[in-house]
């Protein structure tokens, strides 16, 4: 499967694509060998980097932040006033999250985050960005047709809802604080975190409703 920056390639059977892919695979393997032999990289460090972002850091972090803000009004205030230290209270911090701002969704305002110029994304709370976030359709349309983008995600907002798009052009990273679904009174933070989808923290989705989780 070859994903190009300009769009997803659905043709899985094209020989040219397969040969290009194995070319890239060979190139990367050769590069790793070269850089290891030069003494510039330690392959054990590479393994730790991969494991960190494949297994350890992901949207569950952000979901915990959101759930805590839902149950704890003082935490919510701290999060909205200065998100970086508030998020660090849960031990989430560091690369591509050095300066975080939390954006509060309300019945009147829906927030959506994009990086039109590349793929800037709050790694400590959401992990690595999905392919769609880094690709041309989202990067080009989020700022000019957010309602159309939301339709692509199956989300329809009331026509008078203000849609506020934040283009991450600097090192400020944004996380959306979605509205707490009704019918969740008394739920534990853990159970609430199950409702918080990754897309709801980017702004291309809404949290799950109580009926959607067991």
């Amino acid at each position: 499967m070859l994903d190009t920056m300009s769009g997803h390639d659905h043709d899985h059977h094209h020989d040219h694509d397969h040969s290009e892919l194995s070319e890239t695979e060979l190139r990367v393997r050769a590069l790793e060998t070269l850089l290891t032999e030069k003494g510039y990289v330690d392959p054990a460090a590479l393994d730790v980097l991969i494991e960190t972002y494949e297994k350890k850091v992901g949207p569950r972090n952000g979901a915990r932040v959101v759930a805590k803000a839902w149950v704890d009004p003082d935490y919510r205030k701290r999060l909205l006033a200065d998100a970086t230290p508030a998020i660090a209270e849960l031990s989430y911090a560091g690369r591509q999250g050095e300066h975080i701002v939390a954006l509060e969704n309300t019945p009147k305002t829906h927030n959506m985050v994009v990086c039109t110029l590349c793929s800037c994304y709050p790694w400590p709370v959401l992990g690595l960005p999905p392919v769609w976030y880094k690709s041309a359709p989202y990067r080009s349309r989020a700022v000019s047709d957010p309602r159309g983008v939301l339709r692509d995600f199956g989300v329809a907002l009331a026509p008078d809802t203000e849609i506020r798009i934040w283009d991450s052009t600097a090192e400020i990273r944004y996380i959306v604080l979605p509205m707490r679904p009704p019918g969740t009174e008394g739920w534990s933070e853990d159970k609430l975190a199950d409702l918080v989808t990754r897309d709801s923290m980017i702004g291309t989705g809404l949290p799950k409703q109580p009926g959607e989780v067991t």
Partner: protein, 219 residues
Amino acid sequence: MDGAQDMGGVKGFGPVEPELDEPVFHAEWERRAFALTLAMGRPGGWNIDMSRFARENRPHDDYLSKSYYQIWLAGLERLMIERDLVTADEIEQGHVLKAPKPVQNVLTSDDVKAMLHRGGPTERDPLAPARFAIGDRVRMKTINPPTHTRLPRYVRGRVGTIELLHGSHVFPDTNSLAQGENPQWLYTVCFAGTELWGAEADPTTKVSVDAWESYLEPA
């Protein structure tokens, strides 16, 4: 630079197509390319602004036909060749042809956690008071640089309102050229959708960018 990567508002790329239950990496080479890029940052001696420029500074058809991590790979190769860490021949042939360049701060597995936790904060002590305040109306400058900038084309010349102040931050336009961090006050500037896209645009849309002070003029 005003290359293919500056995509805000550009038409013709089609619908957003999210992949259900998408894995973090789609192939083993993506894992390795990702990790090599992160691991080479400190020994390589470049900063994040240089690495972004290395990725985006290519012909449009090259940028648009590569997948995300193919662009990372191309950027990494360029950064290393520029600094004589490797040669193009060595990359093509996949083995060492000349002696390594002495480097510092090779990343070990024990250091990864601390390295990631430290990150690369860009806030610096301000060199001057902020020129603009929340509520000020500002116009984005009109520029057309051949080198790296984070002022997207779709807001140039447009008038918006200062919404947030973020302190002083490293300035990518100079940092990417090794011309210094040159920290400037960083602002969130918010635009009405109609200001960016015309009177027919959705009146419920507002868009912001984060802009350094030298991108702005009073409106």
